[in-house]
Amino acid sequence: MTAPMIIGRPTEAELNQSLLSTTWRKARKPFVLALLVTGGLTALMIFGFGYKIAKGVGVWGNNIPVGWGFPIVNFVWWIGIGHAGTFISAILYLVEQPWRNAISRFAEAMTIFAVIQAGLFPVLHLGRPWFVYWMLPYPAVMRVWPNVRSAFPWDGAAIGTYITVSILFWYLGMLPDLASLRDTAPKKSQRIIYGLLAGGFRGDATAYRHYRSAYLILAGLATPLVVSVHSIVACDFAIALTPGWHSTIFPPFFVAGAIYSGFAMVLSLSIGVRWGFKIDHVVTLRHIENCAKLALTTGLMVGYGYITEMFTAWYSADPFELYQYFHHRPGGPMFWVMLCCNIGTAQFLWFKRVRTNLKILFPLSILMNVGMWSERFVIIVNSLEREFLPSKWENYYPTWVDWSILIGTIGFFTFLFLLFLRFLPIISVAEVKELNASLREKEGQGGA
């Protein structure tokens, strides 16, 4: 018996009260404390990046041969996390999964904030980040365009498109709720701000008709991006010769991993939000369980990816690949962290008792993301550590700056998410109301 999508049949006023009033309610102490802590971590991140810009890439642990270390690991990890949002709001919308409504808003917010974290790295990991614009096609005097054979300009295009569409999609979806906020705001200043944000959305039938078609078009546009972005990020590695990178399965393998880590993050966040904002009746166990099922599915795909990778390496009989996959990776701890956290934890999700037990699910979802981070580390760092020439085999050791930036971005992400929870409608209220109404209607018919 699956849990209901909305517990009880609250009235619209009740929904407004529970879902929109979060914006006016006075911030509670734990919330302020969390904001301070994550703000501090954000400052740490800014300091880390600032220190790097002032001193050079050498403040990190990177070396020859491991030219790419934590920054690129973090980049790939964050961009992966940013995948579930669009998956939930676009793909599930197109395939008409009404349960998405309750969680789509903060999943989208999560996407945007994760992509912001990710976007910091390709820029700031550069030796001379002040020239990052050279990667963009702009009419330079020297008429030098970016090299389209390199995967980096693809990255720029893919991520640029993704964040643009994600923000538009998020904002468009928020219009009805911003309008509701405008209408219910207790203070004039709030009415003005939300009024401006709502962009004159009145909620009449014409507005809704336009809104619906725009939303559908954007959903259609966003859907291929779910697949394309991480496919292109995967190409950063797949187009290279490095054993451990040079692999044709990378694009789908990366996408599966991305959605997996995204759902893990959605699980962590929804469990957190449910607990913090007492909205159990809207974000029900049904949502949690569905997310867990999707995590299980994509987790199995990731596992399949590992098997294929190992098999291909073995089947190639290439000594360089064999060494990478069967000597170096299993010889380090990260490989086992990756296997345990990605493949091991996902297996618990076969059990309904686990899927519906938040006390188990929450730590599991965190572990899954630890696992995904390890996977990025294994792919990027371990591959570079043991390349073709044994004379240039070196190990990689991150520095305190590397750690500061990793922890800092987690702080910054949470900080942005907390601000979102405070100032914007955390649940797509309009859609929940709609769902609520349609469920009521259905029940009414069934009852009659």
């Binding site: 890439v57 020859i64 090299n147 054979r149 290279a240």
Partner: protein
Amino acid sequence: MLSAGVAAAQAGCLEAPGDLTRPYARLPPEVTPGNPRYFATSMTLDGLATGLVVESHEGRPTKIEGNPEHPTSLGATLAQHQASVLDLYDPSRLKAVTDRGKPSSWHHLLEALTKTPGPLWVVTPSSSSPLQRWLLERLKERNDDVHSVVLPTRWAHAYQGAQLALGRPVETQLDLTQAKIIVSLDAELFSTAPMALRWAHDYTERRRSGGLDDLPRLYVFEAMLSPTGMLADHRLAVRTGDVLSICVALWRELQRRGLSLPALPSGVSIAAPKQKDSHARAAILSALADDLLTHRRRSVVAVGPAQPPVCHALAHVLNQALGNLQTTVFHTEALLAQEPEAASLADLSVAVQAKQVQKLLILDCNPVYAAPPGLALERVIRAVPVSAHVDLHRNETSRVCRFHGPLSHYLESWGDARAGEGTLSLVQPLIRPLYDSRSSAEVLAALAGEQDPSGHGQLRGSFRRLTRSGDDFEHAFRASLAQGYLAGSESPRLNLTPALTGGAVEALDRALALAHQRRDALEISLRTSPTIYDERFANNAWLQELPHPRTKLTWDNAAMMSPALADSLGVDEARVLRIEKAGRHIELPVVIVPEHAPQSISIELGYGRNAPEEPIAHAVGDNATRLTDAWLERMVYDVEVRPTDKRAELARTQQNFLEDDRELAISLSLRQFKKDPGVLKRLREDQPSTLPRTRSSEGPQWAMTIDMSVCSGCSACVIACQSENNIPAVGKHQVRLGREMQWLRIDSYRQTDTRHGPGVTNQPMMCQHCEHAPCEYVCPVFATEHSPDGLNEMVYNRCIGTRFCQANCPYKVRRFNWLHYTHRWDGMHSLQRNPQVTVRDRGVMEKCTYCVQRIRRAEHQARMEQRRIREGEVRTACQQACPTQAIAFFALQHEDLVPAKAWDSELAYGVLNHLGTRPRTRYLAKIRNVNDALEEDA
């Protein structure tokens, strides 16, 4: 005024008449700004000269090259020669005279040394310089109370051995172009010997002239794998102390085969080898004896300076018996031998105790560091009322002296010295002294009260005396300066017959008895460092950061030992070992060298400097001379060795020496290769590739071959590259992190088949200039691109530092400016930089350019002369420095050139050819001329 001037002149004060500095407002006709000029000069190492040609940009010497006409350089250099230019600009050099640490002047220093009553002692390093010897003689002539102490030469044992066998000290000259069988008994023929460059050149020539059918064969017996050992066809790792037994055993093997050799007294016993390696030892000695007898008159037996004199004496007799004298082995006058009655440091010490030394001048040496601690030289020098130390730096010796005077670098001095085979080589300055410094000759001349104490005047005087030239003097002097040496001045060959004298037999008996007694004892073998050479170069960052040819260790010396010894001591790599002898101890980290002899620890000298004024040298490693009891004691026994609980942080540029089955550095025995000459074809063939192809047919297509058969790993190329291309040293910490910047590295791989050969193959590795370059297509901003003439170019200005190229380079030859490395070398050091090479900023990638600046310079020249670039016109810095000519650079169109033929030869292959990168650098597989008798089981 006048009297003051006279007084100054009497005191020997230098006043350069009418010398003004002038701006380049009106150009001297011979100078074109931007075009370098080249001057011949010489550098002295251990008293003997090597002829150099120095590149000078607008008055700044920037790059050292070998003098192609000089008989002991032939165009090549050692790493130490290359690096010496950095010492000139060392900001920590002494800049002015000080008296007890307070500013003083040369006038005061010289006055104190001349006016103070009492005897004057002068300590100088051993030198072949006729000028210096003449000045010392003059000084003694004019002043009864002058005593000269010349520090013992490194070749003292060789001289004593010659004394035993030939009745007089001699230099042993080898003609390796004629030698088929070369036996090195701990002799570093190709690295630290004074004739190393010449011998390396001749060895290669011999190898190449005969082709694969007539390769020479090199047998090496040594403890630690040296650059010479790297070239060995057969190498036996024996303790330095057992080399004498090897020599005796070889003697007996030869005798048994009927070679007429004087009988060794029957009482002479040989230290019995351990059961385990006795078989290998017997086999190699038997094969070697056969080889020597089949190739009489075409072999060489050479002995290293660490071996006792009697070993040298035996080798003389062996060479005579094998008929090598006057065909491959010659004797010439000893260049550094001292008169038997010359005073020593011990005499100085006695005289000081007797209060008979009032004044002491220590010139151009650092005896407090280098002397065995038993001499207590510090205390001795402190007891002298007026002591002066003239050297490049303030160091251990200065600290106990009252006056410190700055010595001129050789690039600032006039002088002379003999090359290893006697050629009078001239030292001519490239630049006026940067500081208020003087050369040794100038100091001695001033002390001797010469009329014209300038180095130039003195050199002219000495040259005139030596050449006995009259009217043609000016012409002869100028010609010699231009050439760098006096043509035809090599020592005449002596006709001496070695004999095993009674004294030699006695010495042999004693030496062997001692060896027998110590046969199981742990030996500490002290070696000249192949990187920093000795304490003189310890403050040279390039040399400190130069990876050790075998261990790839930088910024440290270590206790190098075999795995078996490490096991028995219970130590692992990087464990700090405490080595104690008679209450003195040193602490050094363990580095395990599988090719090392058992029961022996090799330690390199020149480290462990206690010189805060030399910031680079200070406290790097530890000083193993502290274990010795006498000068030149190179084998130390009766030591107590125990592991400490400390671990050292070693900065090694290569950690993994096994290539498994990766086919990277290919080494074959001649027989293996002949069995299947096409074995490398598939490593040379064009591979299908999806990588964009950038080969063009326009213009010369540049390419390189590297002959691994003759790469000894000496690393002169690495420093030559560093010096030519403005590559900064990054320091120990950065090397530890894997961030060394050298564009050229020498990879070493251990062979899995170690039954013969050194067991190690060297592979110089730099940008391969792939035709299908993997680095190029991944750069998002086109910062690395292909030129029409086949170079993989790096556009520093365009680089934004994504490091994608580095990630995709399978050879890992790209270097990144992780931090602001060049800024550390601003100031004085920046004068060394080559103005034709961009200095790279933080955050950009860099790598080997095939010395593109040299190619372009040759192109400009060719265009101005309206001709094509000549074959062999462009030489890269690494190629030019290489003593064995392992590196060849050419255009693929220049098909007549020998190296261009090698490009398509059966020995050529590309590293990682299967990737389809089509590297423009090909390697010639290492061919070991294995003795058939020893190959049976291979």
